[in-house]
Subunit: 243 residues, 2 copies
């Protein structure tokens, strides 16, 4: 499994992903699920993936290779004129990869499924955040739903729904995501540390902060332990049932 969240606030975009992949409970590995393409001063593009690892790796490799193969007739991730065209490019690459696996291999197409969160900003347009489905189509986040989750989304959703505020600082948003991830990590063994964190501040056209957060990260420990106590205290603060 996987857990990734991309979240939009007034100040920018914040991304977090776990790194655990598993094929059965007895085959666990660590793989990065967050990729960044950056042309400082011109564009930052972040892609997070969930689903079949062969599919997500193939999508990323194709996208990456094409940024280097100058002769390719399609615009690449570093040349697309807008985030919308970038989402289309990623969506088409997903379709291409799934189509190339499906007919000759086994029939259960769902096995090759993968979904993606794509966000970033290209000079001349606003920062945008998309979710791309295995079918290659995609949706964009809105003010009503300013975040996307992929993978194991349920455990960590209630706190985002309740505590999100578009005027949050980047620092508060990281806290929110860590609380959401901590709830998920505690509930599903197939989501695991370390976490990858990236934040992008609007209009900067460069990665703001990129950090890997492991079990020994002091801030993660503060949040993980603090949240348990804070949650218990919150619970205690409510009146008991009186019949």
């Amino acid at each position: 499994m996987t857990y990734c969240v991309g979240l939009k606030i007034d100040k920018g975009l914040v991304f977090m992903s776990d790194t655990r992949t598993n094929a059965g409970i007895d085959s666990i590995s660590t793989f990065k699920k967050m990729r960044v393409w950056e042309e400082p001063g011109e564009r930052v593009i972040v892609l997070m993936s969930a689903g079949n690892l062969a599919t997500t790796q193939a999508v990323v490799s194709l996208l990456d290779e094409r940024t280097k193969a100058v002769a390719d007739r399609n615009p690449t991730l570093l040349e697309t004129p807008s985030m919308y065209q970038t989402a289309r490019l990623v969506g088409n690459t997903v379709k291409e990869v799934i189509a190339s696996s499906a007919p000759v291999g086994q029939k259960a197409d769902s096995y090759f499924n993968a979904s993606f969160i794509l966000g970033g900003q290209i000079k001349g347009s606003e920062p945008r955040l998309f979710m791309i489905y295995p079918e290659g189509n995609f949706i964009e986040c809105s003010d009503d739903t300013p975040f996307f989750q992929i993978g194991e989304t349920k455990y960590g959703k209630p706190i985002i729904v309740r505590a999100y505020d578009r005027q949050m600082s980047l620092e508060e948003t990281v806290k929110l995501l860590l609380v959401s991830f901590d709830s998920t990590l505690k509930s599903n063994l197939s989501v695991g540390l370390p976490l990858d964190l990236l934040f992008y501040e609007n209009g900067t056209y460069k990665v703001g902060l990129k950090k890997r957060i492991g079990l020994d990260d002091p801030y993660y420990r503060t949040i993980s332990e603090g949240w348990s106590s804070a949650l218990k205290a919150a619970f205690q603060s409510l009146p008991d049932f009186t019949g």
Copy 2:
């Protein structure tokens, strides 16, 4: 969908279930998912169900009918010598109902699936709590895992895991379950009010409290509104990320 929780504390057993059933998002009804068989002074048996409504109703009807058909050679819910034998009886009835639907109807057995939480106490033995699978086999809760959830279990699990304490009072346990249900209600439309609440105090052999909780229930409103604020305050109490 459905959400039901059965929880064991030192003082007794607490049960809560929602009442929404749906066949597609456009076909929603209210059905009771909690049944009680009681012989005051001798036994209390509570059964909650999730899954295919035809299956769960058939199981309950058969169990119920047999308590009235004196000639039946099997012991009934009102005659089983122990909670373990009661769980076996329910499990066998589940198998019987699923087997009778499966071969003549469509092939997708999963469509007829249902799972159950069974709890109660029979004079002469301890109170016990079981979860019964669609296959008819079952597990019992333990000190390490003192509760069972069926249906839409994920949204409401983190708070139970964190705030449960076996020494809780029945009143605190009701609060805990309401918080867990409120998180689920807010996240999944197919779980809906009103809720059914029952608590059983060990050694009393009668239903302690049985109550239906609707949107206009003042305690439910206090918890639902209070929890949002308490959660936000808990979140605010943690330090922001500092890089």
